[in-house]
């Protein structure tokens, strides 16, 4: 079986500047992401509060439920809101995320059209608080936030789920970007190892560079058949600038920002990640190392004196 597998030599990977797990963990995450700062990104509520302080755009927070007894007031919190999202503050992989797009009398409507009662929502929140959806089952908080209206620029590029854009930011410099498109195989989730499509995005134009599914190059979306080369992310400059600003906010040197495009509000930060994966290299058909090294070679003054916009310009000039 091993004979059939495709292998490559370490030298080839090195030549392409591919970064491996060990180097990422040892030379980047361990060195540039201080442990004490992790709560800033691991807790979505903390991220949101911080982003508001730094005037970075995030989906508006409608309310937080922390204790079971607060659940009774849910009706009041939701008063006048027809669409919203309930999600665990420390969830992962889309678990426990409940999107409500409309109301019909006493009912709340999910995107699928399924009708939920207020009681259903309360039970969902109760489960969230007791940790049903959170890592290791620890107690959690439930956030109620603005439901993003996705830009229809991505019509036909995604199956069911909502595409998001992952930008890896090193010391504030955006070094690589990738769009994640859900597929039938990924069950509508934008999760690469479950079979979502990863599309490398050009840092200058926001256009697709190359695409992969299951770690192999593809040309078309497997479900919709749309040519992935045609994908262009609108409001790209604004999006990449927003990503770049996450550095000042988190002070984390090696960061992954998950950004979505709202029809009206433009790019919003959905989630930050202190351990961004390596698949972005496959999607871009390029290695991260040369880019990371280029940033490392900048002098301290150059880095500190540069504004987010300068960093974006630097990236757009060098990382093509």
């Amino acid at each position: 079986m091993i004979g059939k597998l495709q292998w490559c030599r370490p030298g080839e990977l090195h030549r392409l500047g591919i970064i491996g797990m060990n180097r990422r963990n040892g030379e980047y995450i361990a060195r540039y992401n201080p442990r004490a700062l992790y709560p800033r990104v691991d807790d979505k509520l903390a991220t949101k509060v911080l982003a508001n302080e730094f005037h970075l755009k995030v989906p508006e927070l409608y309310g937080v439920v922390q204790y079971q007894h607060e659940i009774k007031q849910l009706g009041k919190t939701l008063e006048g809101r027809t669409s919203f999202v309930i999600k665990p503050s420390q969830g992962s992989a889309g678990k426990g995320i409940l999107v409500i797009l409309d109301r019909e009398g006493d009912y709340f409507l999910k995107p699928s059209g399924e009708k939920l009662t207020l009681h259903d929502l309360q039970r969902h929140i109760s489960n969230t608080l007791s940790g049903l959806y959170s890592l290791g089952g620890r107690n959690d908080k439930a956030m109620i936030e603005y439901a993003i209206e996705f830009s229809d620029a991505f019509e036909g590029f995604s199956y069911q789920g909502v595409p998001d854009i992952r930008v890896v930011i090193f010391q504030g410099y955006p070094v690589m970007a990738m769009m994640r498109l859900s597929t039938q195989a990924s069950d509508g989730k934008a999760n690469l190892h479950q079979g979502a499509v990863g599309v490398g995005i050009d840092l200058v134009t926001g256009k697709a560079r190359s695409a992969v599914q299951h770690g192999r190059p593809i040309e078309q979306h497997p479900d919709t058949g749309r040519r992935l080369q045609e994908l262009v992310v609108p409001q790209w400059d604004e999006l990449i600038l927003l990503a770049s600003k996450c550095y000042e906010m988190t002070e984390m040197g090696y960061l992954g920002a998950d950004i979505v495009l709202d029809e009206k509000l433009g790019p919003l930060i959905l989630e930050l990640n202190a351990r961004p994966g390596l698949a972005i290299q496959v999607a871009n058909n390029a290695g991260l190392l040369p880019r990371l090294k280029a940033v490392k070679q900048l002098s301290r003054s150059e880095r500190i004196l540069s504004q987010p916009l300068d960093r974006v310009r630097f990236a757009q000039k060098h990382f093509i």
């Binding site: 292998w7 490559c8 080839e12 990977l13 591919i18 491996g20 797990m21 060990n22 180097r23 190059p217």
Partner: protein, 519 residues
């Protein structure tokens, strides 16, 4: 940079201390590095028979101490009803006066007492490189007519000899000539071999040389009803020569155990008479590791001896397991960071390996597969019932324990060894494994569960092979400082920032498309 240098220095220090201590112990104390050789062991049983006269009985019986060519593993005295006082120190200054004591308030008729000692052969074949016991020549040869006879014999032997060995040879030859008047006089005062050997010893001392008496046991392959052989040890220039009554040449020293050295009698009995002592010897070969462990438990702790052999057998057992864990950890580091195998948790594979050590590999893997698939099936069902995470996983654990216990019961009912190996420890570990895998299923889905289960199992099997390896177990037990070496290697691997083997597979398509682009 600084941190890197510090780490390198630390690694070198750990390596040096770990390997250095082990080598010192190897060369100074003589622990072999690899437990390949077998060491001969003799189990010697001394049976003491005597008639008790109905009074209180007290028996003092001389027993061997630690010697240059033989070491003592274990000793015990048995004989029901008698109180038993074991011998003292193995090596102390009373080494040649070691004795055990049996006592009882009243006894009549034939009595049987047993003393058993296990001794092992040391590397050294030279006999008795020990402090000499007092010379004590027999007093009776100080009086006439024995004194005169002895003196003449000594003079004649001195005249015909050049050194100690030739002197003793001459004395023995002269004594062999039973027609001689002096010899007849001297022998008239002796009844037993022991008496005659005492005579020989006295004549050697009178000749101005140093010698003493021993009672030796010949350690043949296996024999019964042996008796102790009285012999004379002649010491000249630090060299020792063994002489038998009647043989003018020094004797072979190999396989001779000096049961008792010096003058006092072998056995002293109060309240009994007609004592006889019989020895039986059984020879076995045991792995050196085992022997050495046992041996140093007996020995007094030496300063350099950091090994754990001085602990009780039970403690030794758990330390033996504990000490192999660092090497399990090393394997985990190699497989995760160098090979790139994904496992559930860092230490779960080690715990699994420990469970396998209890159940043995085959049954362990079988159990693992059965229990994990049963546990995950139950989990799937409980998920449908919409239970909260913690109660759900607790329920899974309860079910798993139920499964394991029923295995145990079936196992003992139908005599299935496989199932009987289920004990508390593996049960807990397997239950915990199922818990981890259930959580993983919740968080990352079935595919990831499959990958990580296989990964964990692979790592666990390799860790099992390492941790169960008899050579490694021996080495860490005798040289516990080797865990510093494991630590050093782990720290060194912690610096490895190269690609994992799995990444050569993962990123291969990238290399391929880049090559195509290049064309």
């Amino acid at each position: 940079m600084n941190a890197k240098v510090q780490l390198r220095i630390l690694i070198v220090i750990l390596m040096a201390v770990g390997l250095g201590t082990a080598l010192i112990k190897h060369y100074q104390i003589g622990y072999p590095l690899i437990p390949k050789q077998q060491i001969p062991i003799w189990t010697i049983e001394a049976k003491v028979n005597f008639f008790a006269t109905g009074d209180p009985v007290k028996v003092k019986f001389a027993v061997p101490g630690e010697q240059n060519n033989f070491g003592i593993l274990e000793e015990a005295g048995s004989s029901h009803d008698y109180g038993f006082i074991p011998a003292g120190d193995l090596s102390g200054s009373d080494g040649f006066y070691r004795y055990v004591t049996w006592s009882i308030s009243e006894a009549t008729g034939l009595q049987e007492l047993y003393y058993r000692v296990d001794i092992y052969q040391k590397k050294n074949f030279e006999l008795l490189d020990l402090e000499s016991p007092p010379l004590n020549p027999s007093k009776k040869y100080e009086e006439d007519p024995l004194a005169i006879a002895a003196e003449e014999l000594v003079k004649s032997a001195q005249y015909h000899s050049a050194d100690a060995v030739t002197y003793v040879g001459q004395v023995i030859q002269l004594l062999n000539n039973e027609a001689d008047q002096n010899v007849q006089t001297l022998l008239s005062a002796t009844r037993t071999d022991l008496d005659r050997t005492r005579l020989l010893n006295t004549l050697i001392i009178k000749g101005g040389y140093e010698s003493h008496l021993i009672r030796a046991l010949l350690l043949a392959e296996t024999s019964t009803k042996q008796a102790l052989q009285p012999m004379v040890v002649l010491i000249e220039d630090g060299q020792r020569y063994l002489f038998n009554w009647g043989t003018p040449q020094p004797q072979q020293q190999m396989n001779l155990l000096a049961w008792q050295r010096g003058g006092p009698s072998l056995i002293e009995i109060e309240g009994g008479r007609n004592a006889t002592v019989e020895f039986s010897v059984i020879k076995q070969a045991l792995p050196a590791s085992f022997v050495l462990e046992q041996a140093s438990r007996q020995r007094e702790k030496k300063l350099m001896d950091f090994s754990l052999t001085s602990l009780s057998v039970e403690q030794q057992d758990s330390y033996r397991l504990l000490l192999t864990i660092p090497f399990g950890a090393l394997i985990v580091v190699i497989l995760r960071n160098i090979i790139g195998i994904r496992t559930t948790g860092t230490f779960m594979p080690i715990l699994l390996a420990m469970a396998f050590l209890r159940t043995n590999l085959g049954p362990g893997i079988l159990l693992f597969i059965i229990v994990v698939s049963a546990g995950l099936t139950v989990r799937a069902y409980l998920t449908k019932l919409d239970l909260l995470l913690v109660p759900r996983i607790s329920a899974v654990v309860v079910v798993v324990i139920g499964i394991m216990v029923s295995f145990g019961i079936f196992g003992s009912k139908f005599d299935l060894d496989i199932l009987r190996s289920v004990t508390l420890f593996p049960t807990i570990i397997l239950a915990w494994t199922v818990e981890r895998l259930s959580v993983l299923w919740e968080e990352d889905g079935p595919k990831e569960v499959g990958i990580q289960t296989l990964g964990s199992l692979t790592v666990a099997i390799l860790a099992y092979l390492a941790m169960g390896n008899p050579i490694l177990r021996y080495q860490v037990f005798i040289f516990p400082e080797l865990i510093l070496v494991a630590l050093a290697i782990i720290l060194a691997l912690g610096q490895y920032s190269g690609y994992r083997l799995s990444e050569l597979l993962r990123f291969a398509p990238l290399v391929k498309t880049n090559q195509e682009d290049g064309k």
